[in-house]
């Protein structure tokens, strides 16, 4: 069955609408006639289909989260530079306040300034480079995720394009007719997306680990370099 299906009222034949909870967690499907108000349960096979469609819709959301979630989280994290640089800025301000208060400036007091400043500068450079790196590596991975196959479903009454359904039923935006969605291709899409998530998980993790490693290296190189330079300058 690939075409949207009407569920007619057993009493008057008008289309029925889903009432009550349409959550994937429930195991009941309550239908009410839009014309005479009669409430009916669905035959077992149809009920099973509605429940399966409800579950498939959330499975699709979870599968897409699994496929894109970590990559998007990494990209969002890297867009926020203040997260990486604010601690250094905070450290410098605290240090400056302390040193200004002490009114002493020598090779020893220059050392922490150099360490924090150098580490902060190196982190800034690393952040700018790694942000571009993640965009290059993870962007295509998100874009290459499998899409929903086939064309959008159409209304059984007017033939208008149905909006993306969040449950088992979709109401036509043109004629307001309730449609039981077909779910054709949805199972395949969920499976393909999950497979894609499993196949790309290692790449996303590797990219994340590379970012962490480079930040660590930048910190040590910057701290050592900055500390050494500051000490040398102050000692001269």
């Amino acid at each position: 069955m690939t075409e949207p299906t009407a569920i007619p009222c057993g009493r008057c034949g008008a289309p029925m609408r889903e009432t009550g909870s349409a959550s994937h967690l429930t195991v009941t499907v309550d239908m009410q006639c839009v014309h005479c108000g009669a409430r009916e349960g669905l035959p077992a096979d149809l009920r099973q289909r509605v429940l399966a469609l409800r579950a498939l819709r959330v499975q699709r959301r979870w599968a897409e989260d699994a496929a894109h979630g970590p990559a998007i989280a990494y990209l969002k994290l890297m867009e926020n530079g203040s997260l990486f640089l604010a601690p250094y800025a905070f450290g410098i301000v605290m240090l400056a306040a302390t040193l200004a208060n002490a009114r002493a400036w020598n090779a020893t007091s220059a050392l922490p300034v150099g360490i924090i400043g150098g580490a902060g500068l190196a982190t800034l450079v690393a952040w700018r480079y790694l942000r571009g790196y993640l965009r290059r590596v993870l962007g295509p991975l998100i874009g290459a995720s499998p899409g929903v196959p086939g064309r959008p479903e159409r209304c059984r009454r007017c033939g208008g394009e149905l909006p993306a359904a969040t449950g088992a039923f979709a109401t036509c935006g043109y004629c307001d007719a309730p449609n039981l969605t077909s779910g054709a291709g949805l199972r395949g899409h969920v499976d393909a997306t999950l497979l894609y998530a499993h196949q790309t998980a290692a790449h996303v993790t590797a990219a994340g680990q590379r970012v962490a490693t480079w930040f660590r290296r930048a910190f040590f190189v910057g701290a050592l370099g900055g500390g050494g330079l500051a000490y040398a300058l102050a000692a001269c």
């Binding site: 967690l25 289909r49 979870w62 699994a66 996303v204």
Partner: protein
């Protein structure tokens, strides 16, 4: 005088930054507070604070104590003379997917002070459980490569079951399953598909009529964001054991 001002500014800025970050995190994960989480899982909160957020707050009393003045005092008192650090309880139950299910988060910690070392003893029962209508084949499923700090707990008093294979390289590479039934891994493989590949902690147990996702105190925060798909996996496993179609399977 200026030293005092600088110290006050530094302390205020540090605490201000911490409070700001905490509030930001709480807002981001507000939908996962216990009251709302229970509803999302098709359950009702029977015991515990509905404002507790398992994603941003630890279930360990020793960690919770650092977040409040009262807890801090209790922690300080216990560190001097020993005693209980506190007890955390949260219980939600309901009938998602038509099965009895419950979320149990219980953790108690006691501190014993000694001359050379302090010993913290932790009792915990942290699990998301779904009750199948029939008995299930016992099994124990874990990640093959467990993350440091996220190791599953293995009870010494429970005998080990033989390890089996899924016959699927991807699943065998990711999970270790122990069960006396060699055919079980292949049967339940479709149900495990919804376990996201980025999960850093997985421990599924089947015993009696219970199917549980069992956690450790440190893994609750990492697992709480994915309780919904995990519950779905438990319901799918129950359907397989009961010979019913899994949720989301369309009849041909």
């Amino acid at each position: 005088m200026s030293t005092i001002i600088v110290t006050v500014v530094i302390v205020a800025a540090t605490f201000g930054f911490m409070i700001f970050q905490r509030k930001k995190l709480a807002t981001q994960y507000a939908h996962l507070r216990a009251g709302q989480l229970a509803t999302r899982l098709g359950m009702q909160l029977l015991e515990g604070n509905p404002e507790f957020n398992p994603v941003t707050q630890s279930v360990q009393p020793s960690v919770q104590n650092t977040g409040s003045a009262g807890g801090f005092l209790r922690q300080m008192a216990a560190s001097q003379v020993g005693g209980t650090l506190g007890e955390f309880k949260l219980h939600a139950a309901g009938q998602p997917y038509g099965h009895n299910a419950e979320l149990v988060l219980y953790c108690r910690q006691d501190l014993e002070t000694g001359l050379v070392q302090n010993t913290t003893t932790t009792w915990h029962d942290l699990r998301l459980t779904l009750h199948a209508r029939h008995g299930v084949v016992p099994f124990d499923l874990r990640l093959r490569k467990e993350m440091t700090g996220m190791e599953t707990r293995r009870r010494d008093d429970v005998p080990r079951m033989p390890a089996q294979s899924f016959g699927d390289p991807m699943l065998d590479q990711r999970y270790v399953i122990e069960t006396p039934d060699p055919a079980l891994p292949r049967r339940i493989a479709p149900a495990l598909a919804m376990l996201a590949p980025h999960l850093i902690y997985v421990h599924l147990i089947g015993t009696g009529t219970q199917l549980s996702f069992v956690m450790t105190p440190t893994s609750v925060m990492a697992s709480a964001t994915t309780f919904e798909p995990i519950l779905h996996v438990l319901a799918s496993l129950a359907a397989i054991f009961e010979g019913q179609p899994m949720p989301g399977v369309l009849a041909a």
